[in-house]
Amino acid sequence: MLGALLQQIVSGLAVGSVYALVALAFSLTVRALNQINFATGELFMMGAYVGIGFTVTLGLPFWLAIPLTAIAVSVIGVVFEKLAYRPVFKANVSHPARLHILIICSTIGTGIFLQNGAMLLWGAQALPFPKVFDQEPLSVFGALIPTEYLWITAVAIALMASLNFFLQHSWIGKGMRAAAQDRETAALMGVRLAAADSWTFGLSAGVGAVGGLLIGAISFAYPTMGAGYALKGFTAAVIGGLGSMRGALIGGLLLGLAESLVIALISSVYKDVVAFALLLLFLQFKPSGLLLKPVQRRV
């Protein structure tokens, strides 16, 4: 029994770290632009497919496919930002609040476009991933723990750590953070907002893509795989604090753990209800999440 529980916890943490990546993808654009990218799920899905492209079609090793996939899908994210979202920012609407809604609709369009594009390119069937994690499962307390769960957790955390380092210490990262904090002042100080926005969308896409790649590596890629993860990732972001990096990680891991405990102790049918229930509870009682202070609206 302990073995089974341990197995469940390990898989929960692995899945949770993928949720954290998706949560991070959401938080990046929310923090910088107060914008929810509804194509995050589809960019996640693209990560899995592009990953297959690199490993199967080009025959590259998996460890190389990870950064390549991240870069490739980041570029896709930036392309859409420049072509579809930036023009909307400059649109003539009766009220600035409308811009956010228009961009939401536009990202919805992006999501539909990417999902159907994937289906046209790769077919609607699930595509298998080549066996990446081929080692024998570890035997702990009588349970078999597949090593892939540990790898996924490791890669996800490594990615988040490097992203954090980049944002804290690189010149571009500092510019992004400045723009997120106070757009006008940052612009006055010489930060090029257009570039910062592109980097934001690009990084968000790349992070989500790696999540998709990791999940694809332990199962398959299929065109609708993004939707469920998008919702869970967003929930994780809300739990941790929408817009907070550490919040994304903590929220993701917590959600993954909560789900696995529900599966182990109650029943797997209720697994998805956990995410919803947590989402609604947090939105109701603590919308700013665990780590952030409640936001004061400016007049």
Binding site: A4, Q7, Q8, S11, V15, N116, M119, G123, A124, Q125, A126, P128, P137, L144, P146, I215, I218, S219, F220, Y222, P223, T224, M225, G228, S260, I263, A264, S267, S268, V269, K271, D272
Partner: protein, 370 residues
């Protein structure tokens, strides 16, 4: 301004609607309705491809008694609303003689509201029992229902010595129906399952269910779900060392299950109504034609589409394009040799009887004697 705009819109709609398709009146018009886009589009595309293949062949030979067949293909995007609209387009705009489709039950039921009222023969591929229980005299079903397939599977499992059975089914309509049918079939053998577990489609992880089944002392497992989850489950069972014979539903074998599951599928038994390993002459002919047209192997839904269009055209060939006569003809069939099993007519429209047992040996599903 705004009214002018919607005026223009309304008028263009009507004009487009009135622009009829130029067609010869002797053409026999058939409609194919299924999900061609969307994630579950593989069965829908298989249905369309099978029907198209047959129609093209028949037309190349001159049609039926000199009349060509005009095929109208519609996509329902797996949405009941879209399915109903597409059915209306087929029936009222394209004036089809009959409709074939869909492999998905909610969209089929939605389209049936249209075909039932318009008294258009409708060959459904979806398996929900309700389809033939609504008192629609024009509906026919070529697919053997899950209650028949479950009975075949259970009988085989029991014959192979299964006594303490675990049932793992998905939470959708398909899984729930399968579970109910399996329980009924087991009841006939006076067996109750030792444990039943379920999962959601799109689930990633099945360790919990498998561990519970492992702990329950079961000697066999019945699996009722679709191919993506099926592949994940047998893979997980293999990894976690479940070690039980697995008896799976036809849905498991529908897509590229064998490719996805790889070596983990070895030894899995599947009940189906179609197998590429079937040696019946009509099946071999079907497989040859399909390979020539599409360069791959056909799948069960393609077989259903193939049988549906062939039976429909045969009936039309015999009694002409009279809807009532064609339906009566189909309902009076006896042991028609379909590639998806023998078809025998019944008053409620259920034409599919019997199933076959397949076992996966070295990556190939082989037919085994029952």
């Amino acid at each position: 301004m705004s009214t002018t705009k919607h005026l223009v819109l309304a008028f263009s709609c009507s004009i487009l609607a009135m622009a009829a398709q130029p067609a010869l009146s002797q053409d026999i018009k058939i409609g194919s309705l299924s999900a061609l886009t969307g994630s579950a589009s593989q069965p829908g595309q298989s249905q369309r491809d099978a029907i198209k293949m047959v129609v093209d062949e028949v037309n190349a030979k001159g049609g039926i008694k000199g009349r060509k067949i005009q095929l109208f293909i519609e996509d329902d995007q797996l949405q009941p609303t879209v399915a109903a609209n597409a059915a209306r387009r087929l029936v009222f705009q394209n004036d089809v003689f009959a409709v074939i489709g869909t492999p998905n039950s909610p969209t089929a039921l939605s389209a049936m509201e249209v075909t039932m009222e318009a008294k258009v023969p409708h060959l459904v591929l979806g398996v929900a029992p309700k389809v033939t229980q609504m008192g629609n005299p024009y509906v026919l079903r070529v697919t053997p229902t899950d209650s028949i397939l479950a009975a075949v599977l259970v009988d085989y499992a029991v014959k192979k010595g299964a006594r303490k059975i675990a049932i793992l089914s998905d939470s959708s309509d398909y899984g729930k129906g399968g579970l109910a049918s399996a329980l009924a079939a087991l009841g006939k053998h006076n067996i109750k399952p030792v444990i039943t577990e379920s999962f959601n489609n799109e689930d990633k992880d099945f360790a919990s269910q498998i561990n519970k089944i492992k702990a329950s002392g079961a000697d066999s497992m019945i699996l009722w779900g679709f191919y993506v989850e099926g592949a994940k489950i047998v893979t997980a069972a293999h990894k976690l060392g479940l070690g039980l014979p697995i008896y799976a539903s036809s849905g498991v074998l529908q897509g590229n299950f064998l490719e996805l599951a790889g070596a983990a599928a070895e030894g899995v038994t599947v009940v189906s109504y179609y197998s590429n390993a079937d040696t019946a002459p009509q099946t071999k002919e079907f497989i040859a034609k399909w390979k020539k047209a599409y360069n791959t192997d056909p799948n069960p839904v393609a077989g259903l589409g193939y049988d549906s269009i062939n039976m429909l055209l045969a009936a039309i060939g015999k009694v002409g394009t009279d809807r009532e006569k064609v339906v009566a003809e189909l309902k009076s069939l006896k042991n028609y040799p379909g590639v998806t099993g023998l078809k025998t007519g019944a008053a409620d429209g259920e034409l599919g009887q019997g199933g076959i047992i397949l076992q996966i040996k070295q990556g190939v599903a082989e037919a085994v004697a029952q």
